[in-house]
């Protein structure tokens, strides 16, 4: 389970999110979110998963259907399909970058090419173009996807689990070596423009301003969910294979804290200090502004390895290879609930269910590849890798505490537990976690431009609510964009066109997932009648 939780989110997404949201200003909401949302939600998801698994369900629609007699409950589980379909698509694309970088490290590409020009060219980014058709990136993407599907269709999860037991410690050791080497860089070294300790200071300098910014809270909560794989449906799927009286509380806690160890201790000490050393802190913040920031590692780390002389190709290949390994354990975990849904609810064979996963990831991934320069990839990450996770988490904790019932829920969490679960968490799960997520959710929906008291004054004086551009509604309505057009004066599409098309596409996909659930239940009802 720790192998699934530790992934690209720890090393690539967390540092970027921290840089984007003010470093220390991000870290306090992040740590609070982990304690009040992350850990309780892990227990809730393990409990829902184990409970659903006893009825033969390994994906969230069926599990939620079993939480109570209401027929609509299964539709909340649609989130668990939607997020896996969509996150798997762009996650597999990032995973393919790591595989490509293993190859390029081995053949010495970075000794002759600057990563900062190589990476945009690899992604097919050209000035003034919204589209990209990078043949090499597509090749590595297809290879990575094929490998994922091959493992899924052959049910080799156990083999991967064994390999993860070797790969994960190796990743941690190598990550620690890199972090120490990165922090020891000094402005006199080749290519170094700033002291890396300034990057570390940026991450750890407490900034209380972040506590009053709902967007920072949403980003922090989203990162906690993304990194722990909560609000996705993957934890539920794992838990569905746990027997009725087997421990879930200790396993969930160990996996959660292990993930934090990797993310907070290694993740914060690695990428931002190294990127600060080679690019400068301002450039790091600019590189991550407004996007997912996954690319930062690919722009900077090969430069670090280049300074390691003859060891550079091996170091690069080893690092990106281990990252690929961390990534594939997570992407397989995303594929498993989809395969399980088609097996359990449509009676499909594992091979056919895997083929559905292949096709859907291919189509969705192609959208990310093709429209990457227009910002489609970042739209996927925001709406599915942050927003949808928070929506699902809010819904599931409310259903668990109030429909399934906190008494049954608590009994489910603590049954067979190999640790004493603090009783205070019963109160936390029933009141604190739902209230906390609700406040973050509503706050980020309607975050005002300026402070809240001024916004209230504006509302009561009849001038309306001044939405911030980075609020969820502000993003949907493109608030603050002075020149909102789908086509420029030359008739070429703009990034707003790509953003709106991507959002529409994701909405249609969500409806399609809901339709699949409805069709599966209609099919089962028909079978029962006959």
């Amino acid at each position: 389970m720790a192998g699934n939780a530790v992934g690209l989110g720890n090393f690539l997404r967390f540092p970027a999110q921290a840089a984007q949201n003010g470093g220390g200003a991000f870290l306090i909401p992040y740590l609070i979110s982990f304690l009040l949302m992350g850990i309780p939600l892990l227990w809730v998801e393990w409990a829902i998963g184990r409970h659903g698994g006893q009825y033969g369900h390994h994906s969230t629609p069926g599990m939620f259907d079993r939480l109570g007699p209401q027929r609509w409950l299964k539709y909340i589980g649609v989130f668990g399909l939607f997020t896996n379909f969509t996150i798997a698509a762009y996650y597999t694309y990032i995973e393919s970058w790591t595989l490509a970088y293993v190859w390029h490290s081995l053949v010495g590409t970075f000794s002759t090419s600057d990563p900062q020009t190589f990476f945009p060219a690899y992604l097919g980014i050209h000035e003034n173009s919204l589209f990209a058709l990078p043949m090499e990136a597509l090749f590595w993407f297809l290879l990575t996807l094929a490998l994922n599907v091959w493992i899924l269709s052959h049910g080799l999860a156990k083999g991967i689990e064994i390999a993860a037991k070797i790969g994960l410690p190796l990743l941690l050791i190598f990550g620690a070596v890199l972090a120490v080497r990165g922090l020891l860089l000094s402005p006199g070294d080749p290519g170094v423009v700033q002291d890396p300790m300034e990057g570390l200071n940026f991450v750890w300098e407490p900034q209380l301003a972040g506590l009053t910014n709902p967007t920072t809270w949403l980003a922090a909560a989203g990162q906690v969910f993304f990194t722990l794989s909560v609000g996705m449906g993957t934890v539920h799927c794992y838990a569905a294979y746990v027997r009725r009286n087997q421990d879930i509380a200790l396993n969930a806690s160990a996996a959660g804290w292990m993930n934090e160890f990797v993310e907070v201790i290694l993740g914060s000490s690695l990428l931002i200090p190294i990127a600060t050393a080679y690019l400068g802190l301002q450039a790091v913040q600019a590189a991550t502004a407004g996007g997912s920031g996954f690319s930062m590692a690919f722009l900077t780390l090969p430069t670090l390895f280049n300074n390691w002389g003859a060891f550079a190709p091996i170091a690069g290949a080893m690092w990106f290879g281990l990252l690929f390994f961390a990534g594939i354990t997570s992407s397989l975990a995303m594929g498993q609930p989809i395969v399980a849904f088609f097996e359990d609810e449509f009676g499909q064979s594992r091979t056919r269910a895997s083929a559905v996963f292949f096709l859907s990831t291919l189509i969705l991934g192609f959208v990310c590849v093709w429209l990457y320069p227009g910002g489609s990839f970042d739209e996927f990450d925001y709406w599915t890798g942050t927003f949808a996770l928070v929506c699902f988490a809010l819904a599931e904790v409310v259903l668990f505490a109030y429909i399934f019932g906190i008494d049954r829920g608590w009994e489910e969490i603590t049954r067979g537990a190999d640790m004493r679960v603090p009783h205070a968490f019963r109160f936390v799960i029933k009141y604190v976690t739902p209230a906390f997520i609700l406040v973050v959710f509503v706050g980020s929906l309607i975050k005002p431009a300026g402070d809240w008291s001024a916004a209230l004054l504006s509302l009561t004086s009849g001038a309306g609510w001044p939405l911030a551009p980075d609020s969820v509604i502000g993003k949907i309505w493109h608030v603050g964009v002075s020149d909102y057009r789908w086509f420029d004066s030359d008739g070429r599409g703009t990034t707003h066109l790509v953003q709106d098309i991507t959002r529409l596409f994701l909405t249609v996909l969500f409806i399609l997932c809901a339709w699949l659930v409805a069709a599966a239940w209609r099919r089962k009802a028909k079978e029962t009648r006959s």
């Binding site: 200071n201 806690s253 640790m419």
Partner: protein, 49 residues
């Protein structure tokens, strides 16, 4: 690094290391008993909702 940044780093890292150590020690030292494996014959319950 400022003093406040060092304090925050030190406090956070200590808490995380303590909890990771504690939970992993517990995982490693807790035996998985065969008596835990029970349930219905195929492990799947009948529909009750």
């Amino acid at each position: 690094m400022t003093a406040s940044a060092w304090i925050m780093l030190g406090a956070t890292w200590t808490v995380i290391v303590v909890f990771v150590g504690r939970f992993f020690w517990k995982v490693l030292t807790t035996p998985v008993g065969a008596d835990r494996i029970e349930q219905t014959q195929d492990g799947i319950l009948e529909k009750d909702a």
